[in-house]
């Protein structure tokens, strides 16, 4: 399949096939590929680049799974480095933000699969957060966690989701998809739900009217064909339900995990993966360059390779930072706005469901800019 034929298909709005995807990953001219993805991106979103004001809560890193790419999880409570936040501590995080008059709109909650916590821990966690700030959107628990709750507490997936929604759940994050191919999952994450189960959780959530995101962890042991297949499976579910909002390619970080002998994906890999994702996933509206994982420089550059979102201000991200991410723990709104504007894009603050809250000039502070001197290394515990 030649690049020109693929280009014609993209221009005509036809879905690309498996062979097209593989060919695009192999296309030698990175910038030509980027321009094609950028055409699609600008067709969908013009000059806009979205971000939100959010915070992360990783309530526990105790996890029964031992995924080989993970630097975050500890097997048992009490292992060195293991932690579990009390509900008071978790709520305190939000309370601190509210008291600081930080107008966050979303809390992103992703945790280890802790086998010692009752289901009520999770429902109370959500309910307590909603009580402190009723308007905040709770994007919580990956499909892997939902599936773990289903198995661990003996509840059907739909029941898990119903109870969590009653407690305050608004949408699901897209993590845990890794690579769907069974060969890869057996090798790197044998203890978590398989691809079909991951899809089922999202299908069920979409059926209940919940929105969700989706991801792909790339750059470890997967092949290009496995990446393409993964993307096409996401696209197929989206055709069925329309419930995915955003796709987030996640680069594998090797520090401190069982795969640390692997070389991480390079900048060219990252940008190529963004561009191909934009071209293959024609039915998923947004493509997020998650700056915590990519680094600010690559995340900014990705805005010209198909991405239209940067994630948010992010407070206290732990999962990637324990795998060696050097990015800061948080970004101020003025930093993000500036980063987007300097990328030549129009900054747009959104909520989790992509309602526009403010854009362009409304976001530009009238105060003179001061370079943020926040320390960039180390994990805050």
């Amino acid at each position: 399949m030649s690049f020109l034929e693929i280009k014609d298909k993209v221009r005509a709005g036809e879905p690309l096939g498996f062979d097209d995807g593989v060919a695009l990953f192999g296309h030698p001219n990175l910038l030509e590929l980027g321009q094609l993805a950028n055409d699609v991106r600008e067709r969908l979103h013009g000059q806009r680049t979205y971000f939100n004001r959010n915070m992360h809560i990783n309530a526990t890193n105790v996890c029964v799974a031992s995924c080989r790419f993970c630097s975050f999880a500890r097997l048992k409570a009490g292992d060195p480095g293991a932690y579990t936040l009390s509900l008071q501590e978790a709520w305190g995080r939000l309370r601190a933000r509210v008291e600081a008059k930080d107008p966050i709109t979303e809390i992103h909650i992703v945790n280890g699969l802790h086998d010692g916590l009752p289901f009520s821990y999770y429902t109370e966690l959500l309910a307590g957060l909603k009580k402190i700030c009723p308007t905040v959107h709770l994007k919580a628990f990956t499909a892997v966690e939902i599936f773990f709750f289903h198995q661990h507490f003996g509840l059907p997936v739909v029941e898990v989701l119903t109870q969590l929604r009653a407690a305050g759940l608004d949408s699901l994050p897209g993590g845990g998809a890794e690579i769907f191919a069974p060969r890869v999952r057996r090798k790197v994450c044998a203890d978590k739900c398989d691809g079909d189960q991951w899809m089922d959780v999202h299908r069920t959530a979409h059926g209940m009217g919940l929105r969700s995101n989706c991801t792909m962890l790339y750059g470890h042991i997967e092949t290009i064909e496995e990446r393409v297949e993964h993307l096409l499976r996401l696209r197929a579910l989206q055709d069925e339900t329309g419930g995915f909002q955003t796709f987030i390619p996640l680069a594998f970080h090797p520090d401190g995990n069982a795969l640390q002998r692997l070389a991480p994906p390079t900048g060219v890999d990252d940008l190529r993966t963004f561009a191909v994702s934009r071209l293959l996933l024609h039915n998923i509206p947004h493509l997020k360059a998650y700056w915590v994982m990519l680094g600010l420089k690559t995340a900014q550059t990705a805005q010209w390779f198909g991405a239209d979102d940067l994630d948010g201000t992010v407070q206290e991200e732990r999962i990637y930072h324990m795998a060696g991410a050097e990015t800061p723990q948080r970004l101020g709104v003025s930093d993000i706005v500036r980063l987007i504007a300097q990328a030549g894009r129009l900054p747009v603050e959104r909520d989790t469901l992509y309602n526009v809250l403010a854009e362009g000039g409304e976001l530009v502070s009238t105060k003179p800019y001061r370079r943020s001197l926040a320390p960039s290394a180390g994990v805050v515990s």
């Binding site: 910038l31 321009q35 520090d255 390079t266 420089k297 900014q300 550059t301 129009l346 001061r370 290394a377």
Partner: protein, 633 residues
Amino acid sequence: MNARVRLAAVPFLSARPLTYGIERGLAEDRFELIFDSPEGCARRVESGLAELALVPSATYRSLSLALSPALSLEPPFERGRDCRVVPRVAAVVRDALPSEFADQHSLGALSGSVDDWRRRSGLPFVSLLWSGRSGAIGAEVANLLEQSLEQGLARMRDIASAFAESHGGDPAAHERYLAHSMGYRLGSEEMSGLGAFLEHLRMAESPEATDRVPTRIRLFDFAYAQENAKPAAQPVERKKTPMLERKKTPMPGLDRLLSDAAAGNRVSIAEAIRLYENAPLLDLGRAADERRRFLHPQNRVTYIIDRNVNYTNLCVTACKFCNFYRPAKSKDAYTLSREVLAQKFSETVAMGGIQILLQGGVNPQLRLDYYEELFRWTKANFPLALHALSPEEVSFIARQEQLSIREVLERLVAAGLDSLPGGGAEILDDEIRQRISPLKCSTDTWIAVMREAHALGLRTTATLVFGFGETCEHIVKHLDRLRALQDQTAGFTAFICWPFQAEGTRLRLGDDTTAQRYLRVFSLARLYLDNFPNLQVSWPTMGPAIGQVALRFGGNDFGSAMIEENVVSQAGAVFKLSAEDIERRVRAAGFVPRRRNMRYELLPDCSDAGATCLRGQHAAVGERDAKVPSLGA
């Protein structure tokens, strides 16, 4: 347009190839051709009796002044929506001016001859142009004018003999004149010449004009019509704020400018500014990538293994952007002892390094003999090249010793100096230098040191550091100084740029130092520096990811697997890469990695059987280490 396009043209010999096709009936139904004097042609366009006139460029200038301000040439592109359009064909004098040109037509108020002009400006002289009101012609007409010229170029002999019949003279001489003294394409150099000439005229006519908005000429471009024919992109409602104003929609002519630059046509200062301000990131990058492919078709990316040794941090220059130097009284001021240097140098050799990049503060305690002895000692004991002393250090030594720069360099070369690093250039603009590094050498001194070094056969690199609140014009003028010197000496091997690293320094500028800006400046430099063979990416400041990506924006060198670096790492850049890591990234970007020396000569390929290779002998230092590793301690 349904009516015929009325063309008024001067009947000069040099103009005949331009009108040849039309005279012979090309697109008869589209054109009406009238011959007239230059003044007559100008009047016809002015009064609407013709749509286009082929007139001497000096007339073009006065013509524009005679018209309403909205139609004049002066407004810069952004405001000059109603500029005239000029097809990309014109008569360009390569050699002597034809006798038929009375001086008032060709040179207007400018005194002297075309030869003087050429000598002074170094630029071609554009004598005749198609000019008219914008909107007068479309792509179709411009195309036909090109066709007319093409037919003319194919029939030079016929033109010459016909002219000899009607006006006398030797047909062979006429033909020689057309073929050798004239050119008919408006490339970037011709546009520079035209712009400079019109500017010159304006100054000659009204020397009191102080608000100097440079004259700009707007070219008709075929891409414009095509762009306009495309359905408009989805409109984006956007609110204007100063910060967001920089975004502009692609402009007519940019595609042509980019393809010309990618093909190696010289880019003028005005064109470079236009590209920098308007070309979308990936368009600029692709043009630079194409240019790189043309210069380095073997798809090779080179790198070197060397060690950056900063022999002293004591410095009297006290640049505001520097976090490395210590004043003389500081407790932390150091000058490395021979023992420490010996250890660092032997480690470098053991790790496969072939060169020491030796730079330090400007330390008045060290005299020329210190450097001479250091270099001799190094050469006597280690198989290492000395890439040492930036122009700032050299000029300081010259002042201190009251010697000329040449004498200092000669003595250093005799002691073992191999090449000069291009540091300390920052922005080669004295206004900016005064602001950020008032004690550092001036632009002229920096250039003078490099000129002397090149004259002595030394090779040097050139750098640019941006993010000091400079404008794009400062950056382009910096590049222009480098390009001009390179035209004379060809002594620069490579160009390297990076954004100012602010952390911990005294400069709080908040200027744009993002990856986007880096990639823009970098690609622009690849296009502008058409006489620089190599462009080195700056992964130590931009990080390995963007460093690698920059290889696709015009870069062909990955710099150094640096064993040590102390300056930018003191200001927040903390990346480290081993040779293996570099090679992996180069391959992942689609290139073949090769080691080189400072002169960019390739070293034996590591993959060749039997070649001795020290690849990967030193431990890979994790690129995410937050601290500079203490390999040298």
